[in-house]
Symmetry: C2
Amino acid sequence: MSDPTSPLVDQTGRPLGPRAVETRLRLLETTKDLLSQRSVREIRVVEIARKAGTSPATFYQYFKDVEDAVLALAKQSSQELLDVVDTVSGSWDGANALDTARNIVDAFIRHWDEHHAVLRVRNLASDEGDPQFRKVRRESLSPVLQAIAQQIERSQASGHIANEIQPQAAAAALTAILERLAAYRTELEPLGITRKDLVETSARILVQVITGDQPK
Amino acid sequence: MSDPTSPLVDQTGRPLGPRAVETRLRLLETTKDLLSQRSVREIRVVEIARKAGTSPATFYQYFKDVEDAVLALAKQSSQELLDVVDTVSGSWDGANALDTARNIVDAFIRHWDEHHAVLRVRNLASDEGDPQFRKVRRESLSPVLQAIAQQIERSQASGHIANEIQPQAAAAALTAILERLAAYRTELEPLGITRKDLVETSARILVQVITGDQPK
DNA sequence: GCAAAATCTGATATACCGTCAGATTCGGAG
DNA sequence: CTCCGAATCTGACGGTATATCAGATTTTGC
């Protein structure tokens, strides 16, 4: 992520004064709002501008296009996850492991519930190879990924996990589960599977893969 | 999936003759080709039409919009996965489990490598709630999901897995791994993690979660 | 109170969308 | 063959969004 203390600039690189910052923020909020109502593909710059009480020309002063605005939103969200996961990740030793896992799973679900529209676009663009979105995504998930990989290495060193497991690959696999939890919900709830089921099941999978043993 | 033997129709519901079928196919192929080069958002109907040697008006004869064309492509791809997985899913008993898992993981990676552009759009639209894309996705993954869930239930009945695990939720989690394998590759290969690592690691996670024990 | 800087917008050239009436092509009856 | 009706395709067009820029408006510092 770009240094969050670095001053905001417009498309020509000029730093923003207080009025401009506010306009930019209003445009971002409106974008986020619209994004929760329709697909990115259907969002028009004109619509963002009008809803934000300004003009299309102003929008282009701050963003290259709609996707560029979503990139800014993605940076915000990603920073938020960093903060949350930090406060939530504890020890993976014995009895604590399951609680740590539960906390992480819960944090991810809340994060995705809050930002699903933005994060979906982020992941699509990232998968499509866009370097900027890729960077944002990586920086957001990296701490989680590294923490998990490290823990797996430890379990491997103590003989709890087979050497054929590649720690980083396994960490990536588990992260995939976390990233798609929110999407499951709408698929699974009609089947009578609750959020609690989802958290507990995922947490146990995490523990099992990370420690090599099923939690007690 | 809609009955594949049902005759193709145009936007007004009229069945297609042989020339029309060919034109439609050419438009689909062109769409697929463009989709592998740029994001859906950037694909123009005009461009598809011209590259397919026809006119925009013709495109609209067969598809509502670009997304509608991708939906058709998604149906194709999904059918393909059904076929592949069918031939590849074997027994989860003891020594066979790991091979079965390897086969499934390998099939998914190949499937995503082949169709990533289409499948990404399918999943995005599905996550966004589009009923048609949702249906296609569900029908494609359902057999895998059900097979895994059933196997987990069995392990649970024999006491190998804790009752706190919800079989369908666990199956969904594992499917998430499968669905994102291809995306990992571009992230993990720069770190020196090979396709083989990925297959082996994921397969072992599958076995561990499904049977409750690490494979030998 | 006023000039300079910052911010915003009307106007516009350009491009795509999505439709329809009519042109073109095709297949088969005579 | 040739002609006709059905199938298929497209030119042309009105509507709308994009993206830019010169100039209008607002704010700031003095």
